[in-house]
């Protein structure tokens, strides 16, 4: 599904990623952890094609295609979804219209017929129900006046509606109280399927109590310094990131 080889990325005039190797197979959930400034968000942004980040080396292959050669919107049409760390407000654009345009762009790309307004509303209401989200979100302008928690929930809602093949969640858990965290995790778990891959970028292990990852990778100074199963996250929570430096790499 996704193969990242020796990825090097610069951003803000600095070298951030210094050779990332990561393979995500279809149906897997990978968690990327690491201290602030280690490059977690940069990796997520490089996958989704953020213009502020320059790929200086390496490759990302997605579904056999060269992902780096594709524009961000082409990546999105092809099923790459990113839940933003800092969702942006789009005043004046109603959430439902925004999503309808996005869903139909994807459907058109796949050669499926576009949904009309009635079909679309029925479809999103159903999604909101499955995720236990307030359907009132639909009638509001995108993220405008939303609290931090509502913005993050709205990202998950958009993910559910767009049904991506590869979902990248960039610190979607940050700043959430335990109930909002459970809602977000519930959304991600509902979306888990053998045909979908998920990359969860998080600073804290707590989210992984609710979203059980198949693999956990730890990023430090722009490199993956350790990979393991779920217990690696627990060990990090207990010992902190400093522990990685104290013990030699076992990869």
């Amino acid at each position: 599904m996704l193969e990242i080889k020796d990825l090097q990325v610069r951003g803000g005039g600095k070298e951030i990623l210094r050779g990332i190797n990561l393979t995500v197979k279809t149906g897997e959930v990978h968690a990327i952890m690491g201290p602030n400034g280690s490059g977690k968000s940069t990796l997520a942004r490089a996958i989704s094609g953020h213009p502020d980040y320059e790929v200086t080396g390496g490759s990302i292959t997605y579904d056999g295609k060269d992902l780096l050669a594709m524009a961000p919107e082409d990546r999105a049409r092809d099923g790459v979804f990113m839940a933003f760390q800092y969702p942006v407000e789009i005043p004046g654009v109603n959430n439902a219209y925004f999503l309808k345009a996005a869903v139909n762009a994807v459907r058109k790309h796949r050669g499926q017929p576009e949904l009309d307004a009635m079909e679309f509303m029925a479809y999103v209401r159903e999604k909101a129900k499955i995720l236990s989200l307030d359907p009132g979100l639909l009638n509001r302008p995108v993220n405008e006046g939303f609290s931090g928690g509502e913005k993050k929930r709205n990202e998950i809602f958009q993910m559910a509606v767009l049904e991506p093949a590869l979902a990248v969640l960039d610190e979607t858990d940050s700043g959430l109280d335990i109930d909002a965290l459970k809602t977000v995790a519930h959304g991600v778990n509902q979306m888990r399927s053998p045909t979908r891959s998920t990359i969860v970028v998080t600073h804290y292990q707590r989210l992984l109590n609710y979203i059980e990852p198949d693999f956990v990778h730890v990023l430090q100074d722009g490199r993956i310094v350790r990979s393991g199963k779920k217990d690696l996250a627990l060990k990090l929570e207990e010992k902190g990131y400093g522990w990685l430096e104290a013990e030699p790499q076992l990869m």
Partner: protein, 406 residues
């Protein structure tokens, strides 16, 4: 006493009267650094004096009723008659009670505190484990520029400490009751509350002020919001109509923290609430909500400051009030967006409903924006019920104003 006498700055008789109570707040168990801190704060208080309406931040609120009165430092503990006064309302299992600024273990129930949560008396903490509080205590409150905060710090002796360990999630709230009990003469107390929420922790805290008699409660609360921590704070002020209340809360937020404050004022003759929130990390979400209901000649003043020091922080502020009879309210909402704080999203709303011709509100937004990619909105609305009276009566809603039914 000698320290007070030796000071060279001439102080007004009012200031001297308050300062004279200084030694009464000293206890033998206080660590040396606290003594230094208190002396420094006393010097600040004497230098600053009581603010007058010539100070921009006190333009609409005169503290003369406090400055002119003689308040003795309250020393009484709880009396049996106060059981109802001290009873918690929130259904919390963890309750800490302070009477006249002193932690009262007898009225508190702390045994239900979950693992990772410590709730204790400040004086006890200072005596048994000062290193637990020293890094945090009085580090946020600004005695240098704020006379009442300086006064509180000068009298710093006891209060409540709440420490939530990193990654600890408290699913039920903590209730803190601060009672001021006046006797035959007016008394004052200076309770202190310190809340430290560790990284990725979560807590819900209810801070209540109750009392009887003529009292002056000068409270200071400091809140340290760790990275990724979620703190939900409620302050409910229900002191009697003859009470004076100055309460200042100082918040320091770290990366991705989430803080919400709900500030509710019912009682008191002169009440000033200050909230100063410094958003010192990326991705902090800060909500400040306020509600006040005033009548007779009550004065309720809410001053808030939100300092956006880092990028990607959101602040949402809504203060609403209902003012009857000859009551007066002040709302001043300051928002600072520092040069680094790009992508700030700040929203401020203040609404007041006036129930009589004599009720008054002075509302003022104060925005200082030094970054260029931000969103800051503010709005104020004031409505007079008289014009709506007929329509509400027409809908058979009567007795809304003291003038009786239509």
């Amino acid at each position: 006493m000698t320290q007070v006498a030796e000071r060279s700055t001439p102080v007004s008789p009012q200031v001297a009267r308050f300062a004279a109570e200084f030694p009464a707040a000293t206890s033998s168990s206080q660590p040396h650094w606290l003594g230094k801190l208190r002396e420094g704060a006393l010097a600040s208080f004497e230098r600053l004096g009581f603010p007058t309406t010539k100070h921009e931040q006190w333009r609409f609120t005169s503290v003369t009723p406090i400055a002119e009165k003689t308040f003795a430092l309250a020393t009484d503990g709880p009396s049996a008659a106060d059981a109802a006064l001290l009873a918690p309302i929130g259904g919390a299992r963890v309750v800490a009670v302070c009477v006249n600024g002193r932690f009262t273990p007898g009225a508190s129930s702390l045994s239900a505190a979950p693992k990772g949560v410590q709730v204790m008396g400040l004086e006890d903490a200072l005596a048994s484990n000062p290193s637990l509080v020293e890094p945090y205590l009085a580090k946020l409150s600004t005695s240098e520029t704020h006379a009442f905060t300086a006064l509180n710090t000068a009298f710093l002796r006891d209060g409540i400490v709440v420490l939530v360990a990193p990654h600890t999630v408290m699913e039920s709230p903590i209730e803190l009751v601060f009672a001021s009990t006046g006797g035959s003469r007016p008394t004052m107390s200076h309770p202190r509350l310190l809340i430290v929420a560790g990284e990725a922790s979560q807590a819900q805290i209810l801070e209540r002020y109750v009392g009887r008699g003529v009292t002056f409660t000068n409270a200071v609360t400091e809140v340290w919001l760790g990275a990724g921590a979620v703190v939900d704070h409620y302050k409910v002020q229900e002191e009697p109509a003859e009470a004076f209340h100055i309460g200042s809360m100082y918040l320091h937020g770290a990366r991705n923290g989430n803080f919400s404050s709900h500030n509710i004022t019912f009682g008191g003759s002169l009440v000033r609430n200050e909230v100063v929130a410094v958003l010192d990390g990326e991705g902090i979400d800060c909500t400040l909500n306020g509600l006040y209901v005033a009548r007779d000649k009550q004065v309720v003043d809410n001053h808030t400051t939100i300092d956006h020091a880092m990028p990607h922080c959101g602040s949402h502020e809504v203060y609403k009030g209902i003012l009857g009879e000859q009551s007066r309210a002040v709302f001043n909402g300051k928002i600072v967006v520092r040069p680094d704080a790009q992508k700030t999203d700040a929203k401020q709303t203040n609404k007041a409903l006036l129930l009589s011709d004599d009720a008054q509100i002075n509302t003022k937004p104060e925005l200082e924006i030094f970054a260029n990619d931000v969103k800051c909105t503010h709005g104020a609305a004031i409505g007079q019920l008289d014009t709506m009276r007929f329509s509400t009566c027409g809908r058979v809603v009567s007795g809304l104003t003291k003038r009786g039914p239509c």
